[in-house]
């Protein structure tokens, strides 16, 4: 390899297209890799008004035609989009003149593109498994779920290395797909503390007045309104918290459970205490996190828990459910409060404790911020990822594909 280490990443989302956690992950990882001398090409789906090709801090970003004809369902659309992704990525690789060393796929949503390009160019494929279908759905109940699970299994089979963002996810992926230990690598997700530095001098009193009364503490939830995120557990905890503290619950995000959740809130006659915000812009979210009395992550299944990490970076004390990656990010009573999963009483206990006990809140937020800086820095994560690329290329150089 005479040129700079060169990677082509596949991701179905990349800013400004933001659907879940993969978009910010690929954004910060690719930029941090570029900073330490890795040439990164990101191939992603198109987005209104975003250019088909641009360079962001050294990262080449290509936005492909993500298939706009009607598709029978989401899963079929994914495979049709992958057809376009493969086609356009193949042409890009050729244009670059055999300079791609490694393909790196993010989740099953780009599985067939990654697998196909691996074989046609005979270059190693890596995958980061951000989540699994069996975990998201708590089992495999429908044909679509089985198909996605099998696609994930196929992707991890084809990958030379499988990166997971937490120890929990390593053991989960090992179990779900029967992978050998030496194929799995744990590299944590990162958080960009600079985003929150700008809101350091935030005038919370003025800002929070848009959302809550001066006497109301803000309890913040950020995430999709879907079952696995446990938002219904938080909603059920609302009256238990309100029995002891005057608070306003701010719910950021959208999802298929929204109507159901609104109905629960209406039936409890607490519409004035729970504010469903939908999606908020990139400027408002860090300010909200900064000004929240507590951030709550009540997930039932959580491979990593980036929202908790972001709250910690914003110096917002966190209450999380003691599950998955959240269990690793948060140390109970040191960097946050761990509640029993799927338990509104436990969740309410943690929220109330943080809102009432000023000393405890201060202690937790300071410890949490320190931990974020020490362990979840993107540059360190990029270094670890680069080492994995190098190890794979070492193996590749001894193979008959080289």
């Amino acid at each position: 390899m005479k040129h700079k280490l060169s990677v082509m990443m596949f991701s179905w989302e990349f800013p400004p297209r933001v659907i879940g956690g993969i978009s910010p992950h690929v954004f910060f990882l690719s930029k941090s890799l570029a900073k330490i001398g890795v040439k990164v090409h990101v191939v992603t789906c198109d987005f209104p008004d975003a250019p088909p090709h641009e360079v962001i801090d050294g990262v080449e970003v290509y936005r492909i035609d993500s298939y706009k004809n009607p598709a029978p369902d989401f899963a079929t659309w994914v495979y049709l989009m992958n057809l376009n992704m493969q086609r356009e990525a193949a042409a890009i690789v050729n244009k670059l003149g055999d300079k791609i060393d490694v393909f790196h796929a993010h989740d099953w949503l780009v599985a067939t593109a990654g697998i196909g390009l691996k074989h046609v160019f005979r270059k190693p494929l890596l995958v980061t498994m951000h989540s699994t279908e069996i975990g998201r759905r708590d089992g495999l109940h429908t044909d679509t779920e089985k198909m996605i699970h099998e696609t994930e299994a196929w992707l991890t089979y084809e990958a030379w290395k499988v990166i997971c963002c937490s120890d929990y996810m390593v053991s989960h992926v090992k179990w779900a797909f029967g992978l050998p230990d030496d194929k799995l690598v744990m590299i944590p997700n990162g958080v960009n503390t600079h985003v929150y530095a700008s809101s350091e001098k935030e005038d919370c009193e003025a800002f929070r007045a848009k959302f809550a009364l001066p006497e109301e503490k803000i309890v913040l939830y950020v995430g999709r309104l879907v079952y696995e995120k446990g938002i219904h557990v938080l909603i059920n905890a609302v009256p238990k918290v309100l029995a002891r503290v005057n608070a306003k619950f701010i719910i950021v995000g959208s999802g298929y459970m929204k109507e159901q959740l609104l109905n629960i809130v209406r039936s409890m006659r607490l519409e004035h205490k729970v504010l469903f915000m939908g999606f908020v812009d990139d400027e408002t979210l860090p300010r909200l996190q900064k000004c929240a009395g507590v951030s709550v992550v009540p997930s039932l299944f959580e491979p990593f828990g980036i929202v908790a990490l972001e709250a910690m970076a914003a110096k917002s004390p966190v209450v999380v459910s003691d599950t998955g990656g959240l269990s690793e990010i948060v140390d109970h009573d040191a960097t946050g409060f761990k509640a029993y999963p799927n338990n509104p009483e436990s969740l309410a206990w943690g929220i109330t404790k943080i809102l009432i006990d000023e000393k405890y809140r201060k202690y937790i937020r300071e410890n949490a911020y320190r931990k974020v800086q020490e362990k979840y820095d993107w540059e360190k994560i990029a270094q670890q990822t680069k080492q994995v690329y190098k190890a794979v290329l070492g193996e590749y150089s001894k193979s008959f594909w080289a």
Binding site: N69, A71, P72, T76, L83, R87, N94, T112, H119, V120
Partner: protein, 195 residues
Amino acid sequence: MVGKLADYINALSTQLAKNKVETYVVTYNDSLTGTVEEASGVKVVRVANPVRSPIGVLTWDLTLNQEVERAAASIYYQAGKQIDLIDVYDWHFIPAAVTLKNALKIPFIYSVESLEDHRSPNSSTPYNMSIKSIEWLGFYEAKKVSVKSEWMRDQIFRIHNVPEDKMKVVSPSKDSWITDVLELYKTVAGGLNSK
């Protein structure tokens, strides 16, 4: 065997081998996977779908295409990158042909047996539209389009607006059939820049 295509490919590949064309057939079989060399000298590679629970024909097809692509790429590398052209039949393996063309610069002929518009007349569900879009992609990316009748050529012109000089009628009922096939192959073989 699903339709008459299997018989046709068998006859065509045998004739090609007789005419000293190194021929590989990549096809689907759920259990008899691997490579077999027929008495004619044709090498048949059968692949299975790694996804055992597709939710429909489209997802079955699109996942199977990756295995077709893998097998075809493997043939390409084992043959010292000396594959002159791909002849792909109907929409099913167009995705593989398109990637192989863009990645390995192997031109392909799209041989049309039937069209979605004829199989499902007056249907424009998302399922039909998806198949039609794959057909369209095949017509767009193919170096040449092979049809078996003038009627089909006119239909493709009418439905997909494919230029008539991109299409060639090769009728299997004519005595000159295999000569016509070879003539068509010669116009395409030799890379994407040939005429």
